[in-house]
């Protein structure tokens, strides 16, 4: 598993698109979301960065010819899928540190007033990411890359619109109503979805032609 993580991080670092995304996504979000609640903005950054890193590395082994390499190495298919699901927490940790430092610098330079560490934001981001990947990962395994990408984009846009609306309307809008849902319940739902999705992905990947 260390090998795949090393591969994924090496590829993320060497990808120009990912570097551009890592560097410019936060300023872009700050620019378009001046009226956002800082906590929601922080939450959106955590979710987006983790999600982008997780899905990018997930697709390395499903699309393109490089998939033959990893699947020819001494690793069995179950391990590969389990790694993919566990790696979201590694990417999440990387994101918390990276976004924390980035936003802290923005704060220090007084470019904007943003949260650079917010426990509630972190706690809300974890189940959101788990639910997100629970839907997206099996679709990448089950469907052709093009179909999976369409589902991925629809989900991504839906999340973005919902988050933006919640954030924009602030306490007057949907955020207030979402507040009635206890974090424990959301986390429990996320955990169940995550485990079911993992089992489904293991089954699908085990019987899939590479």
């Amino acid at each position: 598993m260390i090998g795949i993580l090393k591969r994924d991080i090496s590829l993320l670092i060497s990808s120009k698109q990912m570097i551009i995304f890592m560097l410019f996504y936060i300023p872009l979000l700050l620019f378009v979301s001046e009226s956002f609640v800082p906590e929601i903005l922080y939450f959106m950054i955590l979710v987006f960065y983790t999600y982008m890193m997780s899905t990018t590395s997930f697709t390395y082994d499903l699309t393109g010819k490089s998939k033959y390499v990893i699947n020819s190495l001494p690793i069995n298919r179950n391990e590969l899928v389990i790694y993919k699901y566990l790696s979201i927490f590694i990417y999440f940790s990387i994101t918390v540190v990276y976004a924390g430092v980035y936003l802290w610098i923005i704060n220090i330079l007084k470019l904007a007033d943003v949260d650079y560490f917010n426990l509630r934001g972190i706690m809300n981001a974890i189940p959101t990411i788990m639910i997100y990947v629970s839907i997206v990962f099996p679709t990448f395994i089950r469907f052709e890359p093009r179909v999976a990408q369409i589902i991925n984009i629809i989900l991504f846009m839906t999340f973005f619109i919902i988050s933006s609306n919640i954030s924009y309307t602030g306490d007057k809008g949907a955020l207030k109503y979402l507040g009635v849902l206890k974090w424990e319940y959301i986390m429990a739902i996320a955990l169940v979805m995550y485990i079911l999705s993992l089992l489904l992905s293991i089954h699908l990947y085990k019987n899939r032609d590479i």
């Binding site: 260390i2 090393k6 590829l11 990808s15 390395y60 490089s66 190495l73 001494p74 690793i75 069995n76």
Partner: protein
């Protein structure tokens, strides 16, 4: 007999192609050439052996073990080289090496560095900057640096110039000096196999035509040349494939002695090359 690779009644169905119950065995210490025209099923067979495709029937045993059940253990002892570069183009040779090395329990860094020097490869170079030949050499270096007992190669010499091809064949020949190691080598450049293979397995339209020692194949198969006057119904049945012209015919036989007895001096018989065997069998 302990085989290093056993393929038994292997079956895989696609919409437009079926790999139809193919069987063959490879013993330790030998090179098996896997020949066939494009689309015959060579790459499909290799992908099934590597468990990249899921079989619909049959059995694959590598080092005496089921290739799915013991996938990790088995793959730890396999070196693979595919027909083109499947490594990540944006990574350097060194980074790619360190990624791959972490998967193998017997990775030998000094051996890899030796190959890097021998192949004149710069470890800091990005894979995308390498020529096709260099990429193939890198793949070969990776395949040979973890003490693999079985090297599986899918058309490794296709698209390479004769100098590169000869270099690769020389390396394979030196690998096989260790009697425990075997090489399974698919190609449609049959002259490469005439130089190094011990066994030839010929596949056509998803079926195995033969799987025999190379010397038996080259001893028994022959090209028969003669006039059209002897090419009657009975004669035709004796041949695997026939090419007719206005002045005569050329045909492939898999039993030169029988053909000699049947036609005597009326025909000229020459030894067939692997290419002849492939071309005439496909034309059948």
């Amino acid at each position: 007999m302990d085989y290093i690779l056993e393929v038994k009644n292997l079956r895989k169905e696609f919409k437009n192609f079926t790999l139809d119950n193919i069987s063959f065995n490879l013993e330790p210490g030998y090179i098996m050439g896997f020949i066939g025209p494009n689309g015959a099923g060579k790459s499909t067979t290799i992908k099934l052996i590597m468990n990249l495709l899921k079989k619909d029937g049959g059995e694959i045993r590598i080092f005496g073990k089921d290739h799915e059940k013991y996938e990790k253990e088995v793959k730890n002892r396999i070196g693979f080289v595919y027909d083109e570069n499947y490594y990540y183009e944006d990574l350097t040779i060194n980074t790619m090496k360190s990624v791959v090395a972490s998967f193998y329990s017997n990775w030998d860094d000094s051996k890899f560095n030796e190959y890097m020097r021998e192949f004149d490869l710069n470890p800091k170079a990005k894979i995308k900057t390498l020529s096709k030949g260099m990429k193939m050499k890198f793949s070969l270096a990776v395949a040979l640096s973890h003490n693999a007992d079985l090297i599986i190669m899918d058309e490794p010499t296709s698209g390479l110039d004769p100098v590169f091809r000869r270099e690769i064949l020389d390396i394979l020949y030196s690998v096989i000096q260790d009697e425990k190691k075997s090489i399974f080598f698919s190609t449609h450049i049959t002259t490469d196999l005439e130089k190094i293979a011990d066994y030839i397995t010929f596949i056509n339209r998803g079926k195995i035509v033969f799987s025999k020692p190379k010397d038996d194949v080259l001893q028994n198969y022959g090209i028969v040349k003669g006039g059209l006057d002897i090419l009657d119904e009975n004669a035709r049945k004796e041949f695997i494939g026939i090419r007719e012209t206005k002045v005569g015919f050329e045909a492939l036989t898999d039993n030169m002695d029988k053909t000699r007895r049947m036609f005597g001096n009326r025909v000229l018989i020459e030894r067939a090359t692997l290419e002849d065997i492939m071309v005439y069998s496909v034309r059948r």
